[in-house]
């Protein structure tokens, strides 16, 4: 069993800000864990601009925003970074069971900050009927394939849902030479930021269908087409409005779910509707000494807010550790 003052799970913007802030508030002996081989989290695949306007007062890409924090972390010797490291379980005494290549260890911190981010809603959660062919991706997965792996997952694409990542990916697919045939949004207006409608959809004349719902995905081995119909403002289907769109790829962008299974395992009280900790106070949970920050605490629109609130989490953990002494 390894003992630590403070363990932070997740090396994205939230975890990095929390680590820096905890150090700046007097905590030494900090361990920052991430399952990926690099710090930066999802920012590494968000290669578009628009990050940092509030925090750095300039507009940066995701990797640039992450890079500034990575540099800072590397300069602080009291923050130990463990990459390729996966947390398999967490119990109520804050003991983490951790897997890294060739190693299974238990780590017991006095305080724990969870900065585990969020995941995307799946096809199953959207109740889309039809077959299960290849060619169905979440927007974030398509983003990773194009921007990190250099693979273009399809040629004729329909985006389902109009979350920000879906809108960003509509532009990205278009720039890479794919045809985005439609964005389908069940509600009256976009879930994403107005500026993403302007610069990702309108700039490229991509058709966007509000008040429309996907009914079914067709195709045996690969997506061949989808069917769509109109809905009213209460999301009820309007009869005789069904039409089909031929495509080889369906990209789903219908929202994000905070990832909190580890703290749930430890017995932290979780609101099942939002998958976030039940609490009256920012970053706190029902177990003393376990903090949650960034998108696992609540879904933020912009990374600058994640950074801001995660700095507070680092300070909260430092204050908690100070009281223990």
């Amino acid at each position: 069993m390894i003992e630590k003052k403070l363990v932070i799970v997740g090396g994205g913007p939230a975890g990095m800000a929390a680590a820096i802030s905890a150090y700046e508030h007097g905590v030494s002996d900090i361990l920052l864990i991430d399952r990926e081989p690099y710090l930066g989290g999802i920012l590494n695949q968000c290669i578009h601009t628009g990050f940092g306007l509030k925090y750095f007062k300039e507009t940066l890409t995701g990797p640039e925003y992450a890079g500034r924090f990575i540099k800072k972390i590397k300069d602080i010797s009291q923050i130990e970074v463990s990459l390729n490291t996966f947390v398999a379980s967490l119990n109520k005494n804050k003991t983490l069971t951790v897997l890294k290549p060739g190693l299974l260890v238990e780590i017991k911190p006095e305080a724990l900050i969870m900065a585990t981010g969020c995941r995307e809603k799946t096809r199953e959660m959207m109740h889309i009927a039809g077959t299960r062919p290849a060619g169905i991706f979440s927007a974030g997965l398509a983003q990773k394939l194009i921007n990190i792996e250099g693979l273009i997952p399809g040629r004729e694409v329909v985006i389902i849902g109009s979350g920000d990542i879906g809108l960003i990916m509509a532009r990205r697919f278009t720039l890479e030479g794919a045809k985005v045939k439609a964005v389908i949004e069940i509600r009256q207006k976009s879930r994403g930021l107005a500026r993403n409608i302007a610069q990702c959809i309108e700039d490229f004349n991509i058709p966007i269908f509000f008040n429309h719902k996907i009914l079914r995905i067709f195709g045996r081995d690969r997506v061949e087409k989808i069917s769509v119909c109109k809905v009213d403002n209460n999301l009820n289907i309007i009869p005789d409005t069904t039409f089909e769109i031929a495509c080889d790829t369906a990209v789903l962008s219908a929202g994000l779910i905070p990832e909190n299974e580890l703290i749930e395992m430890a017995g932290v009280e979780i609101d099942k509707k939002t998958n976030t900790p039940v609490t009256n106070e920012l970053n706190k949970t029902s177990i003393l000494g376990i903090f949650v920050c960034g998108n696992s605490f609540k879904i933020y629109d912009i990374v600058d807010s994640v950074t801001e609130d995660s700095f507070i989490a680092g300070q909260q953990a430092a204050e908690y550790l100070g009281r223990l002494r």
Binding site: G50, T59, P63, E64, G67, E176, A194
Partner: protein, 119 residues
């Protein structure tokens, strides 16, 4: 004539109204900051965008290196810039801010790396 547009400078996304007379801007409203005014002017005269993409790396730990133009380029040149970006191969380590292509398409903008990719 009144033209409406969403400002893309920040997440607020102000809805800007531009009043034009004989193709000249006579009034700009709806923006809450100076960036909106500049944006609206440029949208009327010569719309500009920063282009972001990723380029192929060979013999480096990452397969793709994210890049962007260090200045906005003409919106109607975006696809030309993209076809050039697709031909780029990076074989030596780069750091965020390093120039990958100088003065891309004579636009006055350089294509720069946005992530450190050491050997």
């Amino acid at each position: 004539m009144i033209k409406k547009m969403t400002c893309i400078e920040c997440p607020k996304g102000c809805l800007i109204k531009i009043t034009l007379e004989n193709l000249q801007i006579v009034k700009i409203d709806g923006n809450i900051c100076i960036k909106g005014k500049t944006y609206a002017g440029s949208e009327i005269n010569n719309p500009l965008r920063i282009v972001t993409s990723s380029v192929l790396a060979l013999g480096l730990p990452l397969k793709m290196i994210p890049v962007r133009t260090d200045k906005p380029v003409s919106k109607d040149k975006i696809f030309e810039v993209m076809s050039l970006i697709k031909k780029v191969r990076v074989t030596k380590p780069v750091y965020a801010g390093d120039i990958i292509v100088t003065n891309i398409l004579q636009s006055g903008a350089n294509l720069i790396a946005t992530r450190d990719v050491p050997a």
